[in-house]
């Protein structure tokens, strides 16, 4: 089964890294959408089927927390798991986003294994299928 993903971050480099990590992990991906902020992300969600959202917190125009709230308050979208990928790992913020309904939280800097493990857990995939996928320096 192929998963449609939405990656939300104002950094093109981070979006590229996350895409690369997911590809190397061997997850079957369908369409991979990208957005620079929550506003663009929400528009993408309105018109396209997405199975998982990975979102930064601090972004211009609409931040990740507002995006998360809007997704969870929208009946048509609230089933979509949202994972926050962000520099902020303070307990207060982590608690807040988890209470808002985030499916997971990854703090930057991250190791690709963390994303792989969390995605396996959320998407219910036991093994991403790529037994030889070992992350090495420069892979991400």
């Amino acid at each position: 089964m192929a998963f449609n993903l939405l990656i939300v971050d104002d950094s093109a480099s981070i979006r590229q890294i996350i895409k690369r990590v997911i590809t190397i992990s061997g997850f079957a991906t369908g369409d991979v959408y990208e957005a620079e902020n929550g506003l663009s992300a929400y528009k993408i969600l309105a018109g396209n089927p997405v199975d998982l959202v990975l979102s930064d917190v601090h972004m211009p125009h609409m931040d990740g927390i507002t995006l998360l709230e809007k997704i969870k308050n929208n009946q048509a979208l609230c089933h979509i798991p949202v994972v926050m990928v962000t520099t902020e790992a303070r307990e207060q913020l982590v608690d807040k986003v988890m209470k808002l309904g985030a499916a997971g939280y990854i703090a930057k800097p991250f190791h690709p294994e963390e994303i792989k493990r969390l995605l396996q857990e959320i998407l219910g995939v036991e093994d991403a299928g790529n037994d030889e996928a070992e992350f090495e320096e420069g892979d991400f």
Binding site: I17, T87, E88
Partner: protein, 157 residues
């Protein structure tokens, strides 16, 4: 008083650079690297941290060679294939991670707000590194210097 110690700054910068950029740094004194700094050109990225009645402005100065190598390492590309926007984007992200790491250590209660990093379009000559009223932290790497300047700009009543 908002205080980010030199040790915390070094710890966080090292953690980010080693884990995400495969780059290693050592702190050096300004006097040790003064001549080298003057000959170099730097990419500048600024970020503000606001809270507890204060605003701290951090300016990160990356030797352009270091900036390019960090970007190449991060994106898994050759140095020569990079464009300016990629370098600026990666440097902003590095500063974002460092600032986030600092507040994670120094402000677990969440009273400090992180700004959004801003990268200057033009490079800065080492001869004109401005930090008259601030705290200057200098680090050396195989690819050039990283200089971090912290200035307390305003106090809110």
């Amino acid at each position: 008083m908002l205080e980010m110690t030199k040790q915390n700054l070094r710890k966080v910068i090292s953690n980010v650079l080693e884990n995400m950029f495969f780059t290693f740094i050592e702190p050096v004194s300004i006097s040790e690297c003064a001549e080298g700094l003057k000959r170099a050109y730097f990419n500048r990225v600024g970020i503000s941290l606001t809270g507890l009645g204060q605003r701290l402005d951090y300016d990160f100065y990356f030797d352009t060679s270091l900036a390019g190598q960090m970007t190449a390492n991060f994106l898994g590309m050759e140095h020569g294939d990079l464009d300016k926007n990629q370098v600026m984007d990666v440097l902003k992200e590095m500063v974002n991670m460092v600032a986030g790491g600092l507040v994670n250590i120094c402000d677990p209660e969440g009273r400090i707000v992180l700004g959004i990093p801003v990268c200057a379009e033009k490079t800065v000559s080492g001869q004109s590194l401005p930090c008259d009223n601030g705290d200057l932290n200098c680090y050396d790497s195989d690819d050039g210097f990283l200089v971090v300047c912290c200035q307390k700009k305003e106090c809110f009543s």
